[in-house]
Symmetry: C2
Subunit: 216 residues, 2 copies
């Protein structure tokens, strides 16, 4: 298979979401034009993205929804169970555990940890918050491969080190700070402030294009 | 100024974060090599990114930290106040309001709204949760330009419509669903599941490269 660019990999879960919605409504086939309308993407872009994985579409008919779902799930390896651990049972950690409902696939948050004794033992849905001392044995026992960090910035590097030591392969960091991890660990940042600041950049640009004054 | 690519715009807040850290520790100058180490980016990439905004660096000395902070803040328009509204005072909404501490710049969440009467009137730090009927007048009064959506997926489109009607220019959507907004509205998605699924893709690839079996 051709090397898939990072941008395409990031779009695949979004395609999957739209396709799952269509599947639920018993839609059998979809054109790149329809997908484009739903996703605000150029149909040519969609055809190019999906062509990475072989020739799925048929001219005049479009893509077979079920087949495309199955194919994308395979590519994202969603046909195998994937266990996720989370450290930081604050508001954000609790919110993310609620996403387990959306993670209909084999990917699930299977364990939650917190350094604060007052929080340990409390329940988040069906999960009991565990102590940090249990992190390493639980990562092994549950075969956790991804660690999510939702602790304050000052504690994040320590948590990352603990996850790496425990043997996870990837980290999703929500703390607003850059972390150092060994090269064999894949780290993604889900920093809300970055998202917000880059959004702001585009708003202001839009104002200038409209020839409106940037400041009153 | 040259057109700045989306990837660069997304990196600017990260540069800013590292530079602010350096500034706090009284560091005066930084080389692209040092920035590269901190950010896991190629120094040549950093020089290229920063060259968009003019010639900041000096050979053998590096970048002036304060000057670079000021310049990036200008580019991101952080030298002007920017008011943000949020709908959905659940765990995620509450967690995001706590980020106000990190948003040291002029960008602030200035109002929180919720459709559920039981939540209206409760406090999140210094903010009082307001009813949805107050959304439009408050967006005007506080000059809110960005709307954050942290409601369940089924309610998200309705909230987006309310924000658009109230006159925001950008939306940051945390609900795991695709939203339709008019072309003049910039929308960014901060979907945790997308981030998690694309991270998983890279983990599995790594396994294959190591010639480990993907499944036991």
């Amino acid at each position: 298979m051709k090397k898939i660019s990072e941008a395409v990999v990031r779009r695949l879960p979004v395609y999957l979401q739209v396709l799952n919605d269509l599947h639920k409504r018993d839609v059998q086939t979809v054109s790149s034009q329809e997908l484009g309308n739903k996703l605000d993407l150029n149909p040519a872009q969609i055809r190019k993205d999906l062509a990475y994985f072989g020739e799925f579409g048929r001219k005049g008919i479009g893509y077979d929804v079920s087949y495309l779902i199955e194919k994308i799930r395979q590519i994202l390896k969603l046909d195998q169970p994937l266990s996720v651990g989370l450290v930081g049972a604050g508001n954000l950690g609790r919110a993310l555990c609620n996403y387990n409902t959306y993670l209909k696939d084999n990917m699930k948050i299977t364990a939650v940890f917190d350094a604060h004794p007052a929080v340990v033992g409390s329940q988040i849905n069906s999960l009991t918050v565990q102590a940090m001392d249990d992190l390493k044995p639980k990562v092994e026992e549950l075969n956790i491969v991804i660690g999510i960090i939702t602790v304050p910035a000052v504690e994040a590097q320590n948590v990352a080190d603990r996850f790496v030591d425990a043997g996870v392969k990837g980290i999703l960091n929500f703390a607003p700070t850059i972390l150092r991890v060994p090269d064999h660990i894949r780290i993604h940042y889900a920093d809300f402030t970055t998202e917000l600041l880059s959004l702001a950049y585009y708003l202001e640009k839009k104002e200038e294009e409209d020839d409106e004054p940037a400041v009153d």
